[in-house]
């Protein structure tokens, strides 16, 4: 069976709301408008305005209300229309949610999910295109999930909602409409995926490509092309940025001896840098070539289509980096 990521998220929320009356959904336009990106379609009708709650445009306020409700034992799902707007509420995510269980020595747990689209969409400019995986992933107390496929979306969101800790759940707008095959098992309402475990999307032996979210798609396409040129790439879909599955990454690199990281976010202090560090820490001697990093350009996102394309990783970039690790260089005409 095929299912879009949108359906996967929608059914995950639906099933968890029907399983647990403590779960509710709150955010801007989640109810009557059916979600700015229609993720919550039908839920207001089904669960009513007591559990599907439209808020004013006041992220700090409703994120704080969500965290307070979680302190009291409810299980809020807080939707940010996009994660760019989570900056208004980030103090509650970090200081009110992530740290409370620790500061209270376990008295105040915070079973909450913050979710919404993260990173670049298409043509939405600098203020609406930022990826927050590295930022949230830096913070102890949070769990940070980054689904790619429909199975990821369903399994990880269900796990997130059931999890007793605060989870930042980063979706991707450009994947919402994408269809993926889903297994019977994944369609079961009891389905969930383990938090903190990466998935090997494609096995390979020459180079490991570690990536997440939409870049898994690009990396798989790159691997396909590389295969034709005789390079066998292993593609790891992280699924979870925090906890980071260091053992899966290191196991793969110990096999392939080469590593390319791919992310859409800004490079400095990014996910790629951490993956590199984790491999240097644990598998330095296995590396046959420098780790290659492909990331968003180190600039605010431009609007113009040609610049936007240059500002984001492309399949070619991944291929080129992978070849470099195998010491086959294919320089690109200098563009700037």
């Amino acid at each position: 069976k095929q299912m879009t990521v949108r359906e996967a998220l929608n059914t995950a929320i639906d099933e968890e709301m029907s399983a647990d009356p403590k779960v509710f959904l709150m955010g801007e336009e989640v109810g009557e408008y059916q979600g700015a990106y229609k993720i919550s379609k039908g839920l207001l009708d089904k669960y009513g305005p007591g559990r599907v709650i439209d808020t004013p445009i006041t992220e700090a306020g409703f994120a704080g209300i969500g965290v307070g409700a979680a302190y009291h034992g409810l299980k809020p799902i807080i939707e940010f229309m996009t994660f760019n707007f989570s900056l208004q509420a980030i103090d509650h995510i970090i200081n009110s949610a992530a740290k409370s269980n620790y500061m209270s020595a376990g008295q105040i747990s915070v079973p909450i999910v913050f979710r919404g689209p993260n990173g670049a969409a298409a043509g939405v400019g600098a203020q609406h295109s930022q990826c927050f995986a590295a930022w949230y992933g830096a913070c102890p107390g949070l769990k940070v999930l980054v689904p790619y496929s429909s199975e990821d979306a369903r399994g990880l969101l269900k796990a997130a909602i059931r999890d007793p800790d605060p989870v930042v759940f980063l979706e991707n707008e450009l994947l919402y409409g994408q269809s993926f095959p889903v297994s019977e098992e994944a369609l079961d309402s009891s389905f969930s995926l383990p938090i903190g475990k990466a998935k090997i999307e494609r096995e390979g032996k020459d180079v490991t490509i570690v990536t997440y979210a939409r870049m898994v798609d690009y990396s798989l396409q790159a691997a396909e092309i590389l295969a034709k040129e005789g390079i066998s790439a292993e593609v790891i879909n992280l699924r979870s940025i925090r906890p980071l599955d260091r053992s899966a990454i290191n196991a793969s690199v110990r096999k392939t001896s080469r590593l390319v990281t791919v992310e859409e976010g800004f490079p400095q202090h990014g996910v790629g840098a951490e993956i590199c560090m984790s491999v240097i820490e644990e598998s330095f001697d296995s590396l046959d070539a420098p780790v290659e990093r492909i990331a968003g350009a180190d600039i605010p996102m431009p609007y113009a289509a040609n610049l936007e394309r240059m500002a984001l990783p492309q399949i070619d970039d991944i291929i080129r980096a992978a070849k470099r690790t195998c010491y086959r260089s294919a320089p690109k005409a200098a563009a700037a």
């Binding site: 009557e32 707007f85 969409a121 600098a126 431009p302 240059m310 320089p331 563009a335």
Partner: protein, 361 residues
């Protein structure tokens, strides 16, 4: 020249202030200018709608048609040394501040000739030399920013003011209340203009605000409720507000207005409001039609002349679009310019830092 005195559609309603007179002075020239300016804005937005549908404009695009009287009436009351800052629904504000159709369409289509060289996009227009400070995508953020402009004006003893525009949805944002408190403490010449088009995206005002009387939401700060579909009322209110702000500090203007389009191009705009409501406003309150009637009833011009103005405008718009379409995309070297004013000659990386690198200027 002749001076006309026209009564506003409805009385102003004041909060902690004595409202200005309903009788607004104007001239035939001004009224005809209002007609032309508003018609031009309307046409530009309708054309943008088409360009979006033919995929020449990408991403978010928020149209202003319906609200033109606010932009135009405000300009009539102030100078270009006064500042304006607004949210993402910014094309017409830009035009009102002296921006050109060509730069506007170029920006919308992401061309080098755009007002932000194609780097900003629909939501990020600016015209600093005429006091327009954007074009902001984060709901509510422009309000403290606008108070900051007013802070600078007062600091520099400019005797000018700032109009910070925001929607009814934005009116619940906490940073509004923070900024307003400081503006009031420090008597900043800040005018908060709430363009109440009655919906924040799909949410009706009363579902987002316990008290949707936005002109009163400053509590201890004065406010004025204005018919935002009546360009003369807007002008009168803005003149009043400017005077007030220079003397006494901040004031809120609630402009009762309406957007004809959906929130952005992805919103049909008809699920959360009835078609009757929309057509009712068009028929009874439309800002351009109001001015057309005024012109005709005062015999300032003829129906035929107005039609020919509208035709001329269509030509201008079509021409600007044609030229914008011909304009090149930004040069790839633009990728790395303007990240900083002063880049220290440092290297900056593209997606693959081993291939695409720039040196910051």
């Amino acid at each position: 020249t002749t001076v006309l005195t026209i009564e506003t559609s409805v009385p102003f309603i004041g909060h902690r202030c004595e409202p200005p007179s309903r009788n607004v002075e104007t001239t035939p020239k001004e009224v005809l200018g209002f007609f032309r300016d508003m018609a031009l804005m309307r046409r530009m937005e309708i054309a943008s709608d088409s360009l979006y549908k033919s995929k020449l404009i990408r991403g978010f695009c928020h149209l202003y048609d319906g609200q033109e009287a606010v932009a135009v009436g405000m300009e009539a009351a102030i100078t270009r040394r006064d500042c304006i800052i607004t949210a993402y629904r910014d094309h017409c504000i830009y035009l009102g501040r002296g921006g050109t159709l060509f730069e506007c369409f170029s920006e919308l289509m992401g061309r080098q000739s755009g007002c932000s060289k194609g780097k900003g996009g629909s939501m990020h227009f600016y015209k600093k030399e005429n006091g327009f400070y954007g074009g902001h995508g984060i709901v509510g953020a422009q309000i403290p920013l606008g108070c900051g402009l007013a802070f600078a004006q007062k600091y520099s003893k400019d005797e000018t003011v700032t109009f910070a525009m925001y929607g009814d949805g934005a009116a619940n944002q906490g940073q509004l209340f923070e900024a307003l408190n400081m503006a009031a403490l420090w008597d900043l010449p800040a005018i908060l203009v709430c363009e109440n088009n009655h919906y924040g995206m799909g949410t009706a005002e009363w579902r987002a605000a316990k008290s949707p009387a936005y002109y009163k939401r400053g509590d201890y700060v004065p406010g004025l409720k204005v018919d935002g579909m009546d360009v003369l009322a807007v002008k009168q209110a803005c003149r009043f507000a400017k005077e007030h702000a220079l003397k006494n500090g901040p004031i809120i203007l609630e402009m009762d207005t309406y957007r004809y389009h959906g929130h952005s191009m992805s919103d049909p705009g008809s699920t959360y409001r009835t078609r009757d409501e929309i057509s009712g406003v068009r028929q009874e309150r439309d800002a351009i039609e109001r001015v057309r009637k005024l012109i005709l009833s005062h015999e300032l011009s003829t129906e035929a002349e107005l039609k020919s103005i509208e035709k001329e405008i269509r030509g201008q718009v079509d021409d600007a679009i044609a030229r914008a379409k011909e304009s090149p995309m930004p040069d790839p070297s633009e990728l790395f310019t303007n990240v900083y004013v002063k880049g220290f000659g440092i290297e900056v990386a593209g997606a693959d830092r081993k291939e695409v690198r720039g040196v910051l200027p």
